[in-house]
Subunit: 338 residues, 2 copies
DNA sequence: GTGAAAGCGCTAACAC
DNA sequence: GTGTTAGCGCTTTCAC
């Protein structure tokens, strides 16, 4: 059915090795032979199969990406795009493993399907435990973290979440805000590291400002984060003058809701996000920019170096965050809301 | 370094074949032997390598996904998630090939890297030419289209774009609108099929309504689609009373812009989208719902069947679209805008 | 229930 | 510049 190297060799009247060389090292084959071989290959619709070469090389040419959820939103989409762009050019396949729920998680670390079946593994925004990292380590392949701790990893890329949220807090403080509310969806430990730092960074930054009242509010997944936000804004007793959302995608829907509630941004309330993701610019949302695509490109390059056994100049890299001041933040209102 | 089947066999005092069977067909191995082998395998951190088995089986256990862009937005993210969920469980790797730009495109169809290196190929929302499909066909693997024509494909899944946009037009007509404007970003032919149908479907639906004025407006990629929209709304001369966007992601930013322009939805202008994607519900955008995740799951199942050589009950499947009437559409204003 | 051995398709010494 | 040959690590008949 499918033509193999032997068929081409036969048809071209040369040996298997010559056919192989024609594709792998064309410069080692004479022009005439090369053309003959190529003609035969074209006639038979032949392409070199990677599988055999993979077997010989000892490499799998697969690289795994562990993510905490099967749902691919902004951050993960950017990571996939960045990794894939670099890895594909280098001849590697990126294969995605969503690890959703604790059973799937246990199963993954029990079976460790990447062992003997991947040349490296990325762990993205995944609150992986030290034990799990150790277990992953028995696969004897490089482990690269994306927004994770660096413990047990061969390399990591990530942002300084604390620094990012501190930029937000200082910006609001400078505008005169003295009562901030941080809103986030309660997250499972599988998504922990980056999120945790963002929240604790918020507290730290607020503590550093005299007379600043700050609260954090964890809300169950779903629409209710907006209800919580509105309720807090309308509270009789010392309502916040600014809402800090854990990520842009939670802040954006608030704009629609506020409009219906007759509340204006930033007149009645200042709002901030985190990520500078989809629609943040259009919504004029003050936020912190991070560039997961760039981090992924760098992470992929680190992975390739590690696979080659090359030393890495900076195994643990922190990428810049940047405050994007837009129109969703302003001086706090001086008069009460009603 | 890495333990292979021979090492385990040696340590367990059995043959390679028995080790192989312990993992591939445990029921063919006696309890006692199995335990011995497993103990040895655990001690050596051994896992079966897929590469060798792949070579023997003649399968590659790779399935390619061709997409028109390296950027992964809502639709593609849903497709990837759906395909991956099914294919991973079946032991296949999903590998993503972004085909961006005509050089990359020509290179891809020239080299045809999927030939001998994938067991099936998905083509997603990619205006592939008949010649390209034919060329792809020489790879002798199933080709499954997602939102493509069915010409030359072994199976396809998709929605009826024309029907979808017609639901929008009829809804607006019923509300009393008689002047519609369809806005879209001009798209390259690589993204053609689905988009083209949506636009021509709009025209057809409008033609079917007496006294309905309809125009379509192609805008260059970028922010300017909003400027175009605002300008049209404010036009002296017979401005549209409803704007129909090609997809939700173009309509959403308009909400923010309109607010700043002092225009209200749906009071001053009705707005519709297409997709029911991120924030459509929160923005109360009237739109047409499609479920790319579900289509992808179905496409993946079709692919697996085709690989197995099984007959497919419905190779060319059309998935339902559903009108989501929300608060962004209402009766047209009766008074002039100013 | 287990072992011996062939071979999947290719690559890389090594010889000529 | 080209051919011969030995494997890469596993699976799978075929014996026993």
């Amino acid at each position: 059915m499918k033509a193999s190297i032997g068929d081409v060799a036969l048809k071209a009247g040369v040996s298997n090795a010559t056919v192989s060389r024609t594709f792998a090292h064309p410069e080692q084959v004479s022009e005439a032979t090369r053309l003959k071989v190529q003609a035969a290959a074209d006639a038979l619709n032949f392409s070199v199969s990677r599988s055999a070469g993979i077997l010989k090389s000892g490499r799998t040419y697969r690289i795994a990406l562990l993510v905490g959820s099967g749902v691919i939103e902004w951050f993960t989409a950017e990571i996939i795009a960045g990794l894939n762009d670099v890895l594909r050019d280098a001849g590697y396949d990126l294969v995605i493993y969503p690890i959703e729920g604790s059973e799937a998680r246990d199963a993954f670390f029990e079976e460790l399907p990447v062992r003997s079946n991947a040349d490296a593994v990325f762990v993205s925004s995944f609150g992986i435990s030290p034990d799990e990292v150790k277990r992953l380590g028995t696969a004897k392949i490089p482990i690269i973290g994306i927004n994770t701790t660096s413990e047990g990893f061969d390399a990591t890329v990530g942002i300084n979440d604390k620094e990012g949220i501190k930029l937000i807090v200082r910006h609001l403080a400078k505008l005169g805000h003295r009562n901030l509310l941080y809103l986030y969806e309660s997250f499972s430990s599988t998504l922990g590291f980056s999120s945790f730092n963002r929240i604790s960074g918020f507290q730290e930054a607020c503590d550093a400002v005299d007379g600043l009242t700050a609260r954090t509010l964890a809300v169950q997944k779903g629409d209710s984060i907006l209800d919580a936000a509105i309720s807090e804004i309308m509270a009789q007793d010392n309502p916040p003058t600014a809402l800090c959302f854990h990520q842009d995608s939670q802040a954006i829907p608030l704009f629609f809701r506020l409009q219906r509630s007759g509340l204006s941004v930033p007149g009645d309330i200042s709002v901030t996000g985190f990520d500078d993701s989809t629609f943040a610019k259009e919504a004029e949302l003050t936020t912190v920019r991070q560039r997961p695509y760039d981090m992924a490109v760098d992470a992929a390059q680190k992975a390739l170096a590690l696979i080659e056994g090359q030393p890495i100049e900076e195994p643990f890299e922190t990428f810049p965050v940047q405050l994007q001041v837009r129109n969703s933040t302003a001086k706090p209102r001086t008069a009460p809301l009603l």
